[in-house]
Amino acid sequence: MSMKMNLIKRGSEGELQMIGYIDAQNAAEVEKILTDLTKQFDVLILDMEKLEYVSSAGLRALKRAYVEMRAKHGTLAAKNVGRSVMEVLEITGFTRLFKFV
């Protein structure tokens, strides 16, 4: 399954619309894109409205983005998280890694 991403740039803030799935097949690719974005922005907002699915492989990609952002004292935020994805974030404690906006 795949992921499409649309980026909105607002100076040092970037908002990434994530569309589709993050699973074991595309997680490495998603991780690379997210870490590139953490270099580019001080604030990165992940709009998860159209993120339909995330597995533990996807969580690892998100965790890497968090670690990179934290290292540069930036902010990783999330918005419009759907119910099932939120359930995954809650069960795994990943809600701790995001600022919800």
Binding site: S55, R60, R96, L97
Partner: protein
């Protein structure tokens, strides 16, 4: 339903799609389909990533609807190295735990998404069975 797949990540969509087809046939909700897809992925990916360190192998998937189609039983069987994914302690989901530890989240999710999860090793095979009420 019973199918055998190469234990390789490239087959993930076929594996999850096979289970999803059974779920769609009995009108399972989107939420249940998500939860089961996740559990199926976590187990299959474990087998693909770790089950056959010295080469390639297969994973057998069986699905059965039980109790008048109110429950699904999904079983993965593989001949890989002996591995009980349920034997580890649950992942530490505190912030320090999440950041310091790799792994364990997949099985945590399987346990929470499915109603029953059991493992046994028999005749040189790992057998992981998951049951969920639909």
């Amino acid at each position: 339903m019973r199918k055998v797949f190469p234990a390789k990540i490239e087959y993930l969509d076929e594996v999850t799609g096979s289970v999803d087809a059974v779920l769609l046939s009995c009108g399972a909700s989107d939420e249940v389909r998500f939860e089961i897809r996740l559990a199926v992925e976590e187990i299959f990916v474990n087998i693909a990533d770790y089950g056959y360190p010295n080469g390639e192998g297969k994973a057998a998937l069986s699905c059965a609807l039980l109790d008048g189609k109110k429950q699904i039983r999904i079983r993965f069987t593989d001949s890989g190295i002996e591995f009980d994914p349920l034997a580890r302690e649950d992942a530490d989901t505190s912030e320090e735990g999440l950041l310091s530890r790799e792994g364990g989240l997949g099985i945590l999710l399987v346990k929470r998404m499915m109603d029953e999860v059991t493992y046994c090793r028999r005749h040189g095979k790992n057998s992981l069975t998951m049951v969920k009420t639909l």
